[in-house]
């Protein structure tokens, strides 16, 4: 059985339940501090997983091969825990805007985290579906958590309808795959998939699974929900959606494409190239006219899904049997984590009393709080891919992986140039944000913004993360390379 492999997941679920129970014994005014308890517990789990003993130290499969613990899973589990910690910091700051039930909010984040942890280890279509639903259903609630705000409810309903639709596609696809091959386990499927490479129903099944996952990562043409939901959802939810949910979609996409049906993927490289290219252009072009900061980041997250798909497309090329695309993708995600969470933390703190998150609200931020101004500017610079921050080296690795594949398929060169066009377009709107911070002439409100000590800690974690990953890429890159080896 090997059931000790899921110790981490069990601990996280237990933490969520304990938070719910603790809520009963806490006076309402102190419930927000439960968030710090959850952060401490997750921090402990993260340190244990990094220590090399106990959780995340063993590899293998459990539950008849449906759960796998390998380098890829461990990489993503650490990623998700760090994301959850930073999102919890943000939630504590956000708690005054949630009228009732802040501890439910914390525990729902923890439950979503457990879904992501299972997704990282999913090696079976059943496990894939269950983990995705665990993530998605908790996000329906998290999105519409500000019950008093119409936009939040609207976002929740949109996410619910489109999410349910994508789940339907996903489960239909799984049914078709199972109906034709009789396999659910990825490894078993890989052995027989090549026999079914000409079977149209099987291919349709795989395609529908990709549709479901494409919705999660907000890739074209399933990106339509992202801007609305990003804009309407409470900021910590948006942040977790942008980082956690997207990364979970990517780990499942990698597992399906390169563990379950590698023989099909090899023929679909062109499809991935086209999707990646269009996603990059769509996200970047649509971000240009946006005035709402969260909506802008919504489009930017679509563009980044496109950049990450560069890595997937490069992996599908298969020249030299190279996993450079995979390691580039994982490295990029690591940089993206600190960058995006840094940006959303700033939004959460600045827009505390504002109904709309317009870019003009950033005017004079430089004088109101230099730390917030610096964090947001660095995040924008990193997203734009400018040295010496994390985004630059990540984009460099992705481009390198794509060009490496260009030796056989010229389409990859077109993709590389499309990505460049995207990068150049993105400079415009990222610098627009920086300009609003430092150089707007009319700042209506110049009152200093008070920052709590934990908020400062999380901002510094993001800043250090962006610089550390950008300036000393070796550590993360080695982890990412080891994790990508799994996909060979």
């Amino acid at each position: 059985m090997n059931s000790e492999l899921i110790t981490l997941e069990v601990c996280v679920i237990a933490l969520g339940v304990v938070l719910l129970l603790a809520d009963l014994f806490m006076p309402p005014e102190r419930r927000r501090f439960l968030g710090y308890a959850a952060i401490a517990a997750l921090g402990l789990l993260l340190l244990t997983s990094l220590s090399g003993y106990g959780i995340c130290s063993q590899t293998g499969t459990a539950f008849s091969g449906s759960f796998v613990e390998d380098a890829l899973a461990v990489f993503f589990k650490r990623f998700f825990i760090i994301a959850a910690i930073l999102v919890l910091f943000m939630s504590v700051e956000f708690s005054d805007r949630i009228a009732t039930g802040i501890s439910e909010y914390y525990s729902l984040i923890i439950f979503a985290l457990s879904g992501m942890l299972f997704a990282a280890s999913a090696n079976d279509f059943a496990m894939l579906f269950v983990s995705i639903e665990l993530i998605t259903i908790t996000f329906y609630v998290l999105t519409s958590f500000q019950r008093g705000r119409l936009v939040s409810l609207e976002a929740g309903v949109k996410y619910l309808i489109l999410g349910a639709l994508s789940s339907a596609f996903l489960v239909f696809g799984i049914a078709l795959v199972w109906g034709t091959t009789g396999k659910l386990n990825f490894n078993e499927l890989a052995l027989v998939a090549s026999q079914f490479a000409g079977n149209k129903i099987f291919l349709l099944g795989v395609l529908l699974v990709l549709v479901g996952l494409g919705f999660k990562i907000a890739a074209f043409p399933f990106q339509i929900w992202a801007p609305d939901v990003y804009q309407g959802a409470p900021t910590p939810t948006t942040a977790f959606l942008a980082v956690g949910s997207k990364a979970a979609g990517f780990v499942l996409l990698l597992r399906v494409l390169f563990t379950a049906v590698p023989s099909v993927t090899a023929h679909w490289a062109n499809l991935l190239i086209v999707i990646s290219g269009i996603t990059i252009l769509y996200g970047n072009l649509c971000a240009i006219p946006q005035r709402n900061l969260k909506r802008l980041l919504g489009y930017s997250s679509i563009a980044h899904a496109g950049y990450l798909l560069l890595g997937v497309a490069a992996l599908a090329g298969g020249v030299h049997n190279s996993t450079a695309g995979g390691s580039a993708l994982l490295y990029y995600l690591a940089g993206y984590l600190f960058t995006v969470l840094g940006a959303f933390t700033v939004i959460c703190l600045v827009m505390r009393r504002l109904e709309n998150e317009d870019i003009s609200a950033l005017a004079g931020l430089n004088q109101r709080s230099p730390l917030l101004a610096a964090t947001l500017s660095l995040a924008m610079v990193s997203l734009a891919g400018i040295p010496p921050l994390a985004g630059f080296f990540g984009k460099f690795l992705l481009l390198k992986a794509v060009i490496e594949q260009g030796a056989t398929t010229p389409g990859y060169y077109c993709l590389a140039f499309t990505a460049l066009a995207g990068v150049v377009i993105s400079l415009y709107y990222y610098f627009g944000v920086i300009r609003a911070i430092y150089w707007s002439t009319d700042a209506p409100d110049l009152s200093p913004i008070a920052l709590s000590a934990p908020a400062k800690v999380s901002l510094w974690i993001c800043i250090v993360g962006m610089f550390w990953i950008g300036l000393f890429p070796s550590v993360v890159l080695n982890l990412a390379t080891a994790a990508a080896q799994v996909l060979k």
Partner: protein
């Protein structure tokens, strides 16, 4: 630690330090910036003096592994090609910091960006690793856009910022694709330039690969250097830029693309370089003749200088295109000379703009009476720009023409017109309009650059032009041995097997001596006339 690390590191460290200095300590901020560029300038002079010409390999080398799995390391070193460029860059950076007194608002941010730009570009020239070469250039490039966008001048500031950002980002990224493709094609899993060259010498890249990588580098770098017809960002951008930014960009940062062509494209892609050079030679006529012509019609002094700076790039491209020792040596000499010259002219026009608030030549006039120092310096800069003997530009241009004549006689014959006639025409006409004639009354009380600190940057840049103009051997002795290596590597592989290459090398050594003689004879013979 290599002296090069200090040269590039001081400005970057100072930029970090300035972040914590409160913004109302203006004197401290300025002092830190000037000091952090003065130290590299002094160190660069020391390095230049200590440099031993003709030594095999690189000097002042330092290598620290950075990402071992990809073969990226922090590797700096100089040979004859970049030792002069680093000296020029460090002096121009110091001059630019001195000239930054014209910036009156948001000084702290300006100096931070200026220091990042200086450190980045000095590091890029010192770098012997493809990745850091690009990385540090990008680090220096982005502040340029911000500086033009925020501290720029004129009504067309936003348009100019937009255009320069678009052009240069696209150029840099095209070059990046070329560099990555080069790394992947070589297959040695290293970004180390000496190792790549060593590897390419033994097993050159396939001709098909060379043929698609070379255009990427040529046009990517070409856009960065304002190669015709991708030059339109330059005059506009420089016209809108605050003068320290224009000095650093036109003087130093722009030479990155040319340096990249010589250092990377020629030795690693010799076959393709050979095929593309005739095309490049014709393109550079576009720079020299067409842009020269455009410069003649300018009414704004800064646009005129900007166009003339684009036109000068044509000579450097012509030197590179000639692919022989004399031409490449000349190209490097012009790169250095033009760096001093562009910085000097933009600094002077910046001073005039600061005092008068306009650079429209019809509104100026007779300024030499009020501004004897600035006026004289501007006149000398203009004469240097026309290629007057005694200034470093003359040495470079005449060397390039000697080199290019043997390969492209027709192009050279046409280019000489650009050098002698067109540039003399627009430069002298501009000097007449600005410096001579009746002095409009409103300029009657203009103050000249009076005290030593104000005069220092202009004097320093002029002196550098003079020194290298009168003693070109200071440069050419250092450049030729390494230019000879590049030229021998760029000799088409198909024409010779190994033994013949060795003979070629020995011949080149003799032609090295010959070209030294030419480089010296050039100015002297002209002076005698």
């Amino acid at each position: 630690m290599s002296i090069l690390t200090y040269i590039a590191g001081w400005p970057l460290l100072a930029a970090l330090a300035l972040i914590v200095v409160p913004r109302n300590y203006r004197v401290v901020i300025r002092a830190v910036a000037v000091l952090a560029t003065l130290i590299p300038a002094v160190l660069a002079v020391k390095m230049f003096v200590q440099f031993i010409p003709g030594v095999n390999g690189y000097q002042f080398e330092q290598q620290i592994p950075w990402v071992e799995s990809l073969g990226i390391s922090y590797h700096v070193g100089v040979d004859g090609l970049n030792v002069g460029l680093i000296l020029m860059g460090a002096i121009v950076a110091f001059a630019a910091a001195c000239c930054s007194w014209e910036i009156k608002e948001r000084e702290k941010e300006f100096y931070i960006l200026l220091l990042v730009m200086s450190g980045g570009i000095l590091g890029a020239f010192a770098s012997l690793d493809l990745f850091f070469f690009y990385f540090l250039h990008e680090l220096a490039l982005v502040p340029t856009f911000i500086m033009i966008g925020v501290w720029g001048r004129g009504e067309r500031k936003n348009y100019a910022t937009f255009q320069i950002t678009l052009y240069l980002s696209i150029g840099a990224l095209i070059a990046l694709i070329g560099l990555i493709a080069l790394y992947l094609q070589s297959g040695v899993n290293t970004f180390d330039i000496p190792k790549l060259i060593e590897h390419a010498r033994a097993n050159p890249l396939a001709a098909s690969a060379q043929n698609y990588i070379f255009p990427l580098l040529l046009f990517g770098f070409g856009i960065l250097v304002s190669l015709w017809p991708f030059h339109s960002w330059a005059p506009l951008g420089y016209g809108a830029a605050p003068s320290p930014t224009a000095m650093l960009h036109a003087g130093v940062l722009k030479k990155f693309g040319l340096y990249g062509l010589i250092r990377i494209a020629l030795p690693l892609l010799p076959q393709a370089a050979h095929d593309w050079m005739a095309f490049l030679a014709w393109l550079c006529l576009g720079n020299i003749l067409y842009v020269g012509w455009v410069a003649m019609r300018q009414k704004d002094l800064n646009l005129l200088i900007g166009n003339s700076s684009v036109a000068h790039m044509g000579f450097i491209f012509l030197g590179i295109a000639s692919l022989n020792l004399i031409g490449v040596t000349g190209a490097v000499v012009i790169m250095i000379a033009h760096g001093f010259l562009a910085a000097l002219t933009f600094a002077l026009s910046g001073y005039i703009y600061q005092q008068t608030g306009t650079l429209e030549m019809s509104k100026l006039g007779g300024l030499c009476r009020q501004l004897p120092f600035i006026g004289t310096a501007l006149l000398m800069a203009a004469l240097a720009g026309c290629g007057l003997p005694g200034f470093a530009n003359f040495v470079g241009e005449v060397t390039v023409f000697f080199g290019a004549w043997t390969v492209f006689p027709l192009v050279t014959a046409l280019a000489v017109w650009g050098a002698l006639l067109i540039s003399a025409l627009y430069m002298l006409r501009a000097m007449r309009d600005v410096l001579h004639g009746p002095l409009p009354e409103k300029w009657a009380a203009l103050p000249d650059a009076s005290h030593v600190w104000r005069r220092l940057p202009y004097a320093l840049l002029l002196a550098s032009l003079f020194v290298f103009g009168c003693f070109p051997r200071l440069l050419t002795d250092k450049i030729t041995p390494d230019a000879a290596k590049i030229v021998s590597l760029a000799a088409p592989a198909g024409t010779a097997d190994k033994t013949v290459v060795r003979i070629d090398l020995s011949e080149l050594r003799t032609s090295t001596l010959r070209s030294r003689a030419t480089a010296e004879d050039g100015p002297n013979s002209e002076l005698r006339n």
